[in-house]
Symmetry: C2
Subunit: 321 residues, 2 copies
DNA sequence: CTGTTAGCGCCTTCAT
DNA sequence: ATGAAGGCGCTAACAG
């Protein structure tokens, strides 16, 4: 049959014309499922993130999608809400679809391992739960957190609160390490009591955690909120209490999202270039798919974050909080 | 073969056990492509939006995804950046995938028509370009815009600028109509020169358009920005000029995104409940898929928006702008 | 009750 | 240079 035409092969000009005309007339498009079945290779890539409503993840996904689309792939996007069982459910679905690759902000190592063992290329984005399996594209969390913390120390702050949600993933662990590293380098002892761990995953919880920290440590002169959601909660609590930023308290964040440059004072933060993080993740995956089957090594990219100094950080003053 | 086990059918307990054990051991998952080919029905739904980085669309997509996932479907998400040719490209891909349905924030009627003619269920979300084909889940744009405009008129404003990007889609057209309707109802003549049309699709362009409006009409006492991106640009320009809100100028927006409640003053706006808009779009599609093939009528939902009065709107004062 | 078979649409190979 | 056939993995129907 003249199906050969649609791709490559030999055909008489007359026949070709006739077939193409018919194709156009009825709007025929080859069945991708049949093609996948036959070729044992799909153009769908599984993408698994924590929360599409968080602009950090939305930007990441947007970067991934852009790059995939350009390369002729498409993105099957699943939100796992940071829950391991939702993540595994999605993994199973990706396996069923026989996707050639998956990009995910991983929750459990099991998800990554399962995919890898089924021969699916995996890119861990933003954080890494498995050192054994899959490539990774990460932000340099320790370097980033060290930068902001040093910025605060350089301004003269000595009592710096840290609001952080979790420290088991590489992202949180790195930021915590950076906070410590900067103190160490400056010869300033880090006070563990100034670290509000498990500050929660929504602004309300983060606000409460920030409030507790401020209550228990009136000598705090600065707060570093370790991601955009935490920063939102922290700022809301600070505004609610009528604490003046940066006069009474400096505030620094991680992740640069639009509101941080819109509020007054604008927020000093560390930009992770989240869209680029997504683009690079996709690139790593696409490169991996392009190369043959050999498992030669593991690619791990660490994208350098950038300190964006704005108006929410200033030298400490005598502050009657 | 005992594949029947995986679904329904009869099988001896012993055989079943053995098969299930093997399945678990090698981690076998049935091939969704083969299943789709055989059953001529896929569990993938195409979702086509303008811009994942715009929180309005991100929320919409999040709502869609949540509902689809709950129902056992998954979302193939494509960004068309508002470009008709990207939209058609995605439509072709969805056709190739033999998706049973597509949810899109449409750009061109051709996309909707093509899908419909190929027997694919279509839900137009947020705006409608085709009255003939496909269901639609929309915000009541005219009602929403009339609410904010009336709010401003009630406060005593008589010279209200409108910053809007386009008025050909139902969303823009509705908001423009609401602006006019409120003036009409209040017996206040609407001045066409106060309407900045084609204000652009990014904050920078919107800021410039707002600036021009302010320059040309020093008697403006309020500005209504017809979506969140326009509002961002308008606010940035207003801040840049050091114009005091709401003392010198009231600002109202459309779409409620997080920064609007974080900036000071917080922004009066119309919430479209964008996540719900997505959820309902998915529900309409799923219901349509559940019912048989008959084309009985067209479902059009108009979700009522909500006026959220905050601090950026106040009665006009003598304003030395 | 269980094993076999046909065919979904595509693409590659082989035969004309 | 073109037509025919087989098989990817699945499931519904049928034969045993």
């Amino acid at each position: 049959m003249s199906r050969v035409l649609s791709g490559n092969g030999y055909a008489a000009a007359a026949v070709r014309e006739r077939v193409l005309a018919a194709v156009r007339r009825i709007g025929y498009v080859p069945d991708a499922n049949a093609r996948t079945l036959r070729n044992r290779s799909s153009r769908s890539i599984g993408v698994l993130i924590s929360d599409l409503r968080d602009p950090f993840y939305a930007d990441l996904a947007a970067g991934v999608e852009q790059e995939l689309r350009t390369a002729g792939y498409h993105m099957v996007l699943v939100n796992d809400n940071g829950q391991a069982h939702e993540e595994m459910r999605a993994v199973t679905e990706f396996l069923a679809m026989r996707v050639p690759g998956v990009i995910l902000t991983p929750v459990s190592a099991r998800a990554v391992k399962t995919l890898h063992q089924q021969g699916i290329r995996v890119v861990q984005a933003d954080r890494r739960v498995s050192r054994r399996y899959g490539d990774a594209v990460l932000g340099a969390n320790e370097a980033g957190a060290e930068m902001v913390t040093r910025h605060l120390l350089d301004l003269g702050h000595r009592r710096i609160g840290l609001v952080i949600d979790e420290t088991r993933w590489t992202s949180g662990a790195g930021r915590l390490a950076g906070y410590h590293a900067a103190h160490q380098a400056a010869g300033v002892p880090a006070d563990e009591r100034l670290i509000a761990r498990n500050a929660g995953f929504d602004p309300e919880a983060a606000g409460k955690a920030t409030g507790r920290l401020l209550d228990e440590h009136p000598d705090l002169t600065a707060v570093f909120a370790a991601n955009n959601v935490l920063a939102q909660g922290a700022l809301q609590e600070i505004q609610r209490r009528g604490v003046a930023v940066p006069r009474q308290l400096s505030l620094a964040a991680y992740d640069d999202v639009p509101w941080m440059s819109m509020v007054r004072p604008s927020i000093t933060t560390v930009s992770q270039h989240s869209v680029e993080l997504g683009r690079r993740s996709a690139r790593v995956l696409l490169d991996r798919l392009a190369e043959g089957d050999p498992d030669r090594g593991t690619t791990v990219l660490n994208l350098e974050p950038e300190l964006v100094v704005r108006s929410s950080t200033a030298p400490p003053t005598r502050n009657p909080r």
